[in-house]
Subunit: 275 residues, 2 copies
């Protein structure tokens, strides 16, 4: 019997159109990104079973990703570029792997991450609504004042208990450090929120955006989102925005030498948070 | 009985995701852009029947548009901005109307046009293939040398009989003036052909792109597409590229004072060409 090659920790960067998936996390009977990627890796590398994947951001049903990060143990013989090409023939077209590389020592896709960056796209002018982008852009009927939304967003920055903007999970902390929350207009006139935090609790970006939209419409004052944050509970005026406007753009990690230390710090604070 | 308001000629600019349509032109039992738009106009404006639409570019099944132009007679009471908003509630999400305005005197969406501009998108690197763009980008497994493709493209510019690159229609001329055929890389590294001509015959852009791809792969010399053009017949080495990479970006018209003159010139030369 041939000896199996040793396994090494690998880092995979991938993107997907979340429209056709019940989110990242494998669930029996559902089409998920985790299961599709694990099966493709198992098939291409002829592994005895689909490998275990650890992901940076467990995206919900319908949420997209352009820079999702995974770590996984792969045979040392697997070559990154060749693997990308072979995966492209096996993966469904709504998932693509962009990079495969040997992970640095101490790397953990989830716990080594310093920050996650998400985008949220809203088209607030029917004359700018591009049908080719409708699967990743929410169409909003009223015009938005993104300057007012940015004023309101500033008061949410920093480390807070974001319980008001999170779907509560038992035993999980909802304290997060919101590093950036800023609206810009892209060249096509679409309002895009760029949201960066150390990590996000469940529904957090979609709720933050949902708290800013009424400000952009002029229905709420710029001080309202901070009041909701301070009140600490779910507010019926905050809509959890649709999943398809949301995309995980990028995950940031510290320099290689700090990966392991970062992972142990994060693990100690947040291991139960599911984020 | 209330008197009907007078009708005036209107110009409509629209976009669509062609994926779910059997092209522009109405066909019994098929889902077409023409039929969907005419029905939405008829419904929103409470017309006795869906209005007759004349289009600048009769796109094929699966082909997209961002700047398609239509002319149509609408009641003089129809207000452009209000109509766009009301259409956005009635049209299917894969069609959006961007502009509705009173057409200048002598305007004909088809025959007044000076040029049509199409784009064709090819991703030639599996590490750049964005699943969110897969419905509008052809994924190509081999890397393309766009500089070689541009050299070859230059020799196709000008007025020629493009029979080698057209699906022949009885009685229709295949003489066209190709004004631009140029490949660039967009910021995401996608190879994009920009193709401008006075008009295009059937399958022409997809065949021109199909003639340049083998040059980009290094399988054909840069002089080959010009040889195919000169030979004047369909060449089995020229693949008609898939529809979903193609998008009608823009239609150009002369200044208002020249619209009617342009229309009569074009009508005289090309009325049977279907382009």
């Amino acid at each position: 019997m041939a000896e199996e090659p040793p396994y090494v920790l690998s880092k995979i960067v991938l993107g997907y159109d979340g429209s056709g998936f019940s989110g990242w996390a494998a669930q029996p009977g559902r089409r998920t990104v985790q299961q599709a990627l694990a099966e493709a890796l198992g098939r291409v590398l002829r592994l005895p079973e689909p490998p275990a994947l650890t992901v940076a951001g467990r995206t919900d049903a319908g949420v997209h990703a352009k820079g999702q990060v995974v770590h996984v143990e792969l045979p040392v013989t697997a070559d990154g570029d060749r693997l990308i090409r072979r995966l492209s023939g096996v993966l469904p077209p709504d998932i693509r792997v962009f990079r495969v590389e040997r992970a640095p020592d101490g790397f953990d896709a989830r716990f080594s991450a310093l920050w996650r960056r998400y985008s949220y796209r809203v088209c607030d002018d029917p004359a700018l609504a591009d049908p080719l982008d409708r699967h990743r852009t929410v169409w909003h009927l009223r015009p938005l004042d993104i300057s007012a939304m940015n004023t309101a967003a500033e008061s949410l920055l920093g480390e807070h208990d974001f319980a008001a903007f999170c779907k509560k999970r038992a035993g999980a902390s909802t304290v997060r450090a919101l590093q950036r929350l800023e609206w810009t207009r892209d060249p096509d006139g679409i309002a895009v929120a760029n949201v960066v935090a150390d990590a996000f609790c469940h529904n957090m970006v979609r709720s933050l955006v949902g708290a800013l939209i009424p400000v952009g419409e002029g229905r709420q004052d710029t001080s309202w989102p901070a009041k909701v944050l301070a009140a600490g509970g779910r507010d019926p005026g905050v809509r959890v925005m649709p999943a398809h406007g949301l995309c995980l753009e990028e995950v940031g990690y510290p320099p290689d030498a700090e990966l392991a230390a970062r992972a142990s710090v994060t693990r100690a604070f947040r291991s139960a948070s599911g984020c």
